[in-house]
């Protein structure tokens, strides 16, 4: 059975076939090669080779360790001899005078137990750190002679840093710094301390069972009050910030939908006979969408000042353009027969729209609104960081201080939970509302191009 009745010889045929294969092979390699070449260009354009030197590994380490642990500072003022204990060294986390955790024994000489045999003693003159397997490090600070350190004989290990005015010892158990003015010990603990109650609350350190018991006897209000006004973690502010972010997304998305729907009618071929108006409205949508939400945010922040309203309006304006485009595409795909049917019963124009058009586009409308509600929760976080509202602002503030990484971790967790919850909620609502019309919604959405922002 011969397939080719041409006058080509097998050799020529083979040649042309292999040329074709060669071409295909080349394109198959050319595409990945182009991508690779581009990535290589970007690699150098972003000066990635020097990135490793610029990267601060110390920052990364503090970030990671700080996000799940906290440190308690025990500080001795070398002039007055007073010893204070504070969580994270902050005043709002300070232990009241005369109160200390059980590993710190206050007194004439303060003894700090860092566990595993590590022990720091704040004497009257001398500060001593006993390190198992190494020996005792002594330091005597004085105003005139700086810090005089006495180390065990031998070479000074890398984890001890000595100079004329400063001694720093970093071990696995903790960290001791002695300067002329003060001596400070850090001890690290895992967890988020003071998350529920600060030290000035009577409920600090109570178990869940005891709290429940007290709540049952009528102290629920004050327990909640102490938790809600926690100065360290600011639960009240955080809750408000999340509410603001959700509010921005809600007001922006729904407001955009309300404004875009009537305008979308003016941008369709089948509902707007005047081509000049149609053209103008379409260009308006394009313009509003093209001026990015970043620019809108900047412009609106000038007029309204920082806050959630500005964020909501920025989302509203940008999404009006997007919704206008999507809705008008959906409206152009509307089935005329339904409208004719409604009209044949003697319906007035408004009724024709209400009963002939709106029910047809409701699935597209709702599913898009809900998609955007979810995606705008994310945008609201970002816009909040720029305009100064919501959880985005709290996050940027916490990052700028460069030390409250446990709060950063907390906010990030909250943001991710918030977005995932909104994702789930909008998906659930979409399924509930468009039940039974799912097929149609899918079809119309696909007709209007892949415009869904995931």
């Amino acid at each position: 059975m011969t397939t080719f009745d041409t006058n080509l010889t097998p050799a020529e045929l083979k040649l042309s076939i292999s040329r074709l294969f060669m071409k295909k092979r080349l394109t198959n390699f050319a595409l990945p090669a182009a991508v690779l070449a581009y990535l290589a260009y970007v690699f150098f354009a972003f000066s990635m080779p020097g990135l490793w030197e610029r990267a601060s590994l110390d920052n990364a380490l503090t970030l990671v360790s700080d996000s799940y642990s906290y440190k308690t500072h025990v500080t001795r003022d070398n002039r007055s001899g007073e010893v204070s204990v504070a969580i994270e060294g902050e005043r709002k986390g300070a232990y009241p005078d005369g109160m200390a955790p059980d590993w710190v024994a206050l007194g004439e000489t303060t003894v700090i137990d860092l566990e595993d045999g590590h022990r720091v003693t704040f004497g009257l003159e001398t500060i001593e750190y006993v390190i198992p397997g190494y020996g005792a490090v002594r330091a005597t600070p004085s105003r005139t002679a700086g810090v005089q350190a006495e180390l065990p004989a031998g070479e000074i290990p890398g984890w001890i840093n000595v100079s004329k005015n400063r001694l720093a010892v970093t071990t696995e158990a903790g960290r001791l710094t002695v300067t002329r003015n003060r001596a400070e010990v850090f001890r690290y603990f895992a967890g988020w301390e003071l998350f529920f109650f600060t030290l000035d609350s009577p409920y600090y350190g109570m178990g869940a069972g005891e709290l429940l018991q007290r709540a049952a006897t009528g102290e629920g209000g004050s327990i909640f009050q102490d938790f809600w006004t926690n100065k360290m973690w600011r639960h009240q502010d955080v809750a408000w910030a999340i509410a603001e972010t959700l509010l921005m997304a809600f007001l922006g998305t729904i407001g955009a939908g309300i404004i875009a729907l009537p305008l979308a009618f003016a941008a369709t071929r089948n509902f707007m006979p005047l081509s000049s108006i149609r053209f103008a409205v379409r260009r308006l949508f394009d313009f509003v969408r093209g001026v990015d939400s970043l620019i809108w945010t900047v412009v609106l922040a000038r007029a309204f000042g920082p806050g959630p309203l500005t964020g909501a309006l920025a989302i509203l304006v940008t999404d009006t353009g997007t919704f206008g485009k999507i809705f008008s595409e959906a409206l152009e795909n509307v089935d005329q027969k339904q409208i004719e049917g409604v009209a044949s019963t003697g319906a007035k124009p408004v009724q024709r729209y209400r009963f002939g058009v709106i029910p047809q586009i409701t699935p597209v409308l709702l599913s898009q609104l809900l998609y955007f509600l979810e995606s705008n929760t994310r945008s609201a976080t970002i816009i909040g960081a720029i305009t100064g509202g919501g959880i985005g602002l709290l996050l940027t503030q916490a990052i700028i201080t460069q030390k409250d990484w446990e709060e950063v971790a907390y906010y990030i967790t909250l943001i991710i939970l918030m977005v995932m919850l909104m994702d789930w909620f909008s998906g659930w609502l979409r399924r509930r509302l468009i039940k039974g019309e799912g097929g149609k919604a899918g079809r119309t959405a696909r007709k209007g191009k892949a415009f869904l922002l995931p």
């Binding site: 991508v35 581009y38 990535l39 970007v42 354009a45 972003f46 000066s47 990135l51 610029r54 990267a55 601060s56 920052n59 990364a60 970030l63 603001e244 509010l247 921005m248 809600f250 007001l251 407001g255 394009d286 093209g290 001026v291 990015d292 939400s293 970043l294 900047v298 412009v299 609106l300 007029a303 309204f304 000042g305 920082p306 806050g307 959630p308 309203l309 909501a312 994310r378 945008s379 976080t381 970002i382 960081a385 720029i386 100064g388 509202g389 985005g392 996050l395 990052i399 950063v408 990030i412 943001i415 991710i416 977005v419 995932m420 994702d423 191009k449 892949a450 415009f451 922002l453 995931p454």
Partner: protein
């Protein structure tokens, strides 16, 4: 049949039922609408209260700033081309961030989607795990990762690129796995029968089927990522957003620079939108025209 004829309702009964039904529906609809309107109004009031400036005050001043910028830019129109040239490298950086993160994100998204699609996943038991991973990647706003990475890596385009790439991987992973569900598994079976490895099955059996859709979604993502990378520049990740922030913080007297940046950003976004819209149309409907 017998039941139906036995208890056939009269026309009046049907009408009554229908009217009652409609009235109930209207009542529910009305209540829902009222609640909704109340929610919007209350939300607006709250947002207005917590804002630095009120809506009523600001509304009249919305166009003050654009007018100022435009007036100043018009006054220095001769310098505009110079500014455009000056800021062009920053724009290229923003575009590079968007393009590189889209590419990297699409690669990881492809991998995630293949690992999370039934019938294609090499470890079917781990499908829920990979789905959750892509959910979490999608849920993280870019700014979160960008800010943390700026702290560790220092300012510049790399933190923004990584941040956007992570989000893109999650978002595309989900969309790609929806595309994968519709792909035919027969080529994969065929390749399995000749002893192809998983990587060979995917690259030769699946990717050619889903390629156009992948590219179409990736292009859409590229549009979104340009906007995202401009925004991230504003918080310190380089590119045109950073220049915009600087130009704005100079305040009056440098508004011509801000205007040039606005113009560059606007033209780029509209241009890329149009271009990728055209390309996507060709990919979805074929190049028949």
């Amino acid at each position: 049949m017998a039941d139906l004829t036995a208890a056939r309702p009269t026309v009046n009964e049907i009408r009554e039922h229908y009217t009652a039904h409609i009235q109930r529906k209207r009542l529910y609809g009305g209540i829902l609408l009222a609640v909704f309107v109340a929610l919007m109004a209350a939300g607006f009031r709250t947002a207005d209260d917590r804002n630095a400036g009120s809506f009523a005050d600001g509304f009249t001043r919305v166009f003050d700033y654009p007018a100022e910028v435009l007036a100043e830019a018009a006054g220095k129109a001769a310098q505009l081309p110079g500014h455009l040239v000056h800021f062009f490298p920053a724009l290229v950086e923003t575009l590079n961030i968007a393009a590189a993160s889209t590419l990297v994100g699409a690669m990881f998204g492809t991998l995630l989607s293949l690992l999370a699609t039934r019938g294609m996943a090499p470890w079917p038991a781990l499908i829920p795990l990979f789905r959750r991973i892509s959910d979490i990647c999608r849920a993280i706003p870019e700014i979160v990762i960008a800010l943390v990475l700026i702290f560790v890596l220092g300012g510049g385009p790399v933190p923004a690129m990584i941040a956007i790439a992570i989000h893109t991987a999650g978002a595309l992973g989900k969309l790609f796995s929806e595309v994968n569900e519709n792909a035919s598994l027969k080529p994969v079976e065929g390749l399995t029968s000749v002893g192809a490895t998983w990587a060979q099955r995917m690259t030769l059996g699946v990717i050619p089927q889903v390629g156009p859709n992948y590219v179409s979604y990736a292009l859409l993502r590229f549009e979104i990522n340009i906007r995202a990378s401009a925004i991230l520049g504003f918080v310190g990740a380089g590119g045109i957003g950073y220049e915009l922030k600087n130009a704005m913080s100079w305040g009056q007297g440098r508004y011509d620079e801000a205007a040039a940046i606005f113009l560059l950003l606007f033209v780029t976004i509209v241009g890329v939108d149009q271009l990728s819209g055209l390309l996507r149309d060709r990919l979805t409907y074929g190049a028949k025209a």
